[in-house]
Symmetry: C2
Subunit: 586 residues, 2 copies
């Protein structure tokens, strides 16, 4: 059935919505695809719902193709399974919680590992039932601290999540590969420009894990890539550390010596003073020679917290996202003035590693950047106001409790696999595939009998796609200053047919063409609005972004209509008689 714009529930806007930060949000609202219902919560209008359904359809086809079976879980869930795995606590304020009328705790599911695990446990009991892959396309909830960018980070959103169940690691690897291939096909069909990067799994647990990121300047995620093909999200990048020195090599190093360094509250002032008062023969002191010790709180989901000091070269900042990925499910709080007052071991501005570590008197946990390797010598605080220590050697003069990947990654840093210098770029997380392993099956007791009649714990994979987010990400990848430019497979219609002027013949011819196209399987949005100027109609067509715009207007007298490619802007006059053949490619 031809959709007529005169009756379509649609109001396009000339002005950008005040709260829209990114093009997809701006354009989805302006072109009448979605409408905000509450912060981070959107209603889908007819055009938006059509696109959403097409994205869902592609995802469904490709999941079915790898033999995954569709199910559908509730969004409103009981607490118990999430308590059994510890996530009821781990999720902290990110999960919407509620009590029912009997005061029973429930949650709105942010992800469904627990429920799938329990369902399979409920129904299956033998290795013969496996392998199994299940998926759902379903509404999920996360109470984001900062819902933003429209559909890119909402609080109610649609995800495809799937889970694989296998008896052994080979099976899991196979399921993971199948999902990976399905994801490649899905993101290709969605017309997304994307990269696959190595990821750390954060709160999800598990081992091997990759993310599919849509490349986008407005993306929230930073990732790195190298000329040799290495790609990872920033959280997953590992630092290339210098070789540790042997005991003999360390013995040959100069001894540490404490010096007065008045008025050096910052790394810069310290480096300047060092170069003036303690110059080195071979090369000047730089911030990279200093060891900076950053004090933080790590707060666990149960509310307990512990001091952590991170030691890193003075020319690098701590990257909170990298740090939080390391301490998850813990989160980081700032260490405040009042906190320093209670910790005499931490001399603010002059903290040195001699006073840190599990073995020290204060017993404060001390983790260092991998560049602070055994045998490296540092200029750092002497734990006394106005004093620093030179040539303090790691492994001789101080002993960290371990290393941590918390320093910022910089453009030009070496790729960990030796494939060249890293480049930084931004993206939107569209998909995530995990080899979960046995974490959930262990916690919830999902075991099956193997060939020998022995109970074995099932190994699982977990695979997600942001379905509603994809609608926005596609626009981030594909728009111009006039509006959206939909890739063919997800466009709400194939042809946007515009009738211009007031001539009844024009409207009759346009209506007939629309019917013919629909009959030929082409989905048509027909702008039949009688009192709207051609200029407004063209503007709306560009904004809405259907791939092909057909104009029936003055040319009709000569028997021609105009066919315009939304993406390239190329126009072409086509005879009305040939229009259907031209537009169906037949």
């Amino acid at each position: 059935m031809v959709t007529r714009m005169s009756r379509l529930f649609l109001r396009t806007l000339r002005e950008d919505p005040a709260d829209a930060e990114v093009p997809s949000h701006r354009l989805l609202v302006r072109a009448g695809y979605v409408r905000r219902a509450a912060p981070g919560i959107y209603s889908w209008l007819p055009l938006g719902l059509k696109v959403l359904r097409k994205v869902e359809g592609i995802v469904r086809e490709e999941m079915d193709r790898i033999g995954a079976q569709e199910v559908s879980f509730p969004a409103l869930l009981p607490k118990e399974p999430y308590e059994a795995t510890g996530r009821w606590t781990e999720y902290g304020p990110n999960v919407f919680r509620l009590k029912d009328r009997r005061d029973v705790d429930m949650l709105l599911g942010p992800t469904h590992e627990e429920m799938f695990t329990l369902l399979v446990k409920d129904l299956y009991s033998s290795y013969k039932d496996l392998p199994l892959a299940l998926y759902q396309i379903q509404t999920k909830y996360r109470d984001e601290a900062r819902p933003r960018a429209g559909l890119l980070r909402g609080r109610e959103f649609i995800m495809k999540d799937s889970y694989s169940f296998d008896v052994d690691d080979d099976g899991l690897k196979r399921a993971y590969e199948e999902h990976r291939e399905a994801y490649v096909r899905i993101f290709d069909r969605l017309g997304l420009d994307y990269v696959i990067v190595r990821a750390v799994s954060g709160a999800m647990g598990g081992s091997a894990s990759e993310e599919f990121l849509a490349t986008a300047v407005n993306g929230e995620d930073t990732y790195v890539r190298s000329p040799g093909g290495y790609a990872a999200n920033v959280e997953a990048v590992t630092t290339v550390a210098p070789e540790p020195l042997s005991d003999e090599q360390i013995a040959a190093l100069p001894e540490a010596h404490v010096e007065d360094t008045p008025d050096t509250p910052t790394i810069e002032t310290l480096v300047a003073l060092a170069n003036e008062r303690f110059p080195r023969a071979d090369r000047p002191w730089t911030a990279a020679d200093t060891l900076k010790n950053v004090v933080l709180w790590v707060r666990q989901p149960d509310g307990s917290r512990e001091i952590l000091v991170v030691g890193l070269p003075g020319d690098r900042e701590v990257d909170l996202k990298r740090l939080e990925a390391q301490v998850a499910p813990g989160e980081i709080d700032a260490f405040e003035d009042g906190d320093f007052a209670k910790q005499p071991a931490l001399v603010r501005g002059y903290i040195g590693p001699q006073a840190l570590g599990a073995e020290s008197e204060a017993g404060i946990r001390y983790l260092v950047d991998p560049r602070v390797a055994r045998g490296t010598a540092w200029l750092t605080g002497a734990n006394e106001p106005g004093k620093h220590v030179f040539d303090l050697v790691c492994g001789r003069d101080f002993t960290p409790d371990g290393t941590i990947e918390a320093a910022e990654v910089r453009e030009g840093d070496p790729a960990p696999d030796g494939s060249g210098p890293l480049e930084l770029a931004r993206g939107i997380e569209m998909g995530h595939i995990f080899q979960l392993g046995r974490k959930y099956a262990d916690a919830l007791g999902l075991k099956v009998l193997d060939e020998n009649g022995k109970l074995v714990t099932v190994t699982m994979g977990s695979y997600g796609i942001g379905v509603s987010r994809a609608v926005a990400a596609i626009i981030e990848n594909s728009h111009d200053e006039s509006g959206i430019v939909w890739p063919a497979e997800v466009a709400p219609y194939d042809v946007h047919l515009v009738a211009t002027g007031k001539d009844a013949e024009v409207f009759d011819a346009a209506a007939a063409l629309a019917d013919e196209l629909e009959a030929a399987g082409v989905e048509v949005l027909y702008d039949d609005r009688p009192k709207v100027s051609p200029g407004v109609k063209f503007k709306d067509a560009e904004l809405i972004g259907v791939p092909t715009i057909v104009v029936v207007g003055r040319g009709l007298a000569e028997g021609v209509v105009e066919v315009k490619d939304r993406k390239t802007g190329v126009r072409e006059n086509v005879s009305l008689d040939d229009a259907v053949a031209r537009l169906t490619g037949r």
Copy 2:
């Protein structure tokens, strides 16, 4: 693609689940269509999801056919719109409420009148934009006090809700009629056995309203029908009242007289005593001659409560559902011993209407059954222990504050339209159509400019279908002792193909037939399980309920397969070569 049972995520059960009260619940769980996740909350397994999608598809097609446009609202909603209409309070504990991380009140939408009204207000402003009908097929939430009967009364469920918007009453009537016709087509296509009954609108407000009930002995709703075609839900039945008498007629009635009636705590003992001590010449006293006064609390959603006395013939009980429909959004609480102690005007067991009503000293609200008409005479309490009054005439000796439809409706009561005696039956509410009118538009300020440039309030209709409930209701209508019997349009598959024995040729032939059928557009569930006995396979096929069962087995040697109609049980041998033609009806 042929679905093979060897890989289908399915486990049929031989035993009924312990909590299943009704056939649909029992069979949906046993046949592996759904699985309980929490009380009143279900997960859809692959077979169940297929049926659900078919029901949704039928609903969608018929809504599209009447020009309704599909949108999709969030389930997680802000409080404000529901406060503006008073429903935040009215819904009481039936709505799931929660607070987000900023302590903002939210709810899980039980129905979306407010959101639709606001959306249309947001986008539209002129009579030219109307008429408009919007719908969604979406997950809804109600925190039922007693979730029961599986999908029939759940706490998370899927509904189609639609809303019409018109400038005038004629438009609303037209929209209502269009929806009514669409509903008839939908329920016909779903294969439901249903009736359309008059309804009262309860908490929804508004005027004209009908319900579509699937007839089912296990239905929660009681409705009535007459030989002349009257049909109504019990809440909507109006009582046929006697003609009120004129002043002269009343003047001719005997006077009221108080009599000692010791030891008559019940209607029965009172009637016995009256017949013994005060016999009437023409006919004996019966319970229908007595006026019973029932004391109750009406509690409003804001917690305030008021005493209500309902006067009704002593042979009838108060029907709480009918009463609650009348006092909605108020609810009824019992009037307890302690409450009587605080109300000296109410002499327990001997309450008479003389002491009741707004004009009485106690000022207690008093509403009577319509049978207690002006000029009717009653035997009732005398407001003194051990005393009753005879010949107490309504409109002469006491004055009720009005009438109320609170008495039970009985088999044989006259239909209000004179179409004969009522018969009682039970059903499942599948659909409900309302002429809401301007209640929501008024509360939320939805106005448009009319042809004369004047602002007019829009009039609305609201129309619901229980989509997930329909899956269960269909089974209540269509099952036997062996399992489900799906109507063709909603069956998960068209053909259940069973291969029996161990013969590879049989399995090869069955697989080839399955492929041929799928190629011809027939959806096939192929039972290819190698080590399962024919008996188990047949039992599963009967349980799952696909309309046509095809068995490929021993007959194959003679080139025949067996085709069995699940509903009638009729079997037929068909040559393998003709099977596709036979099963596609071509």
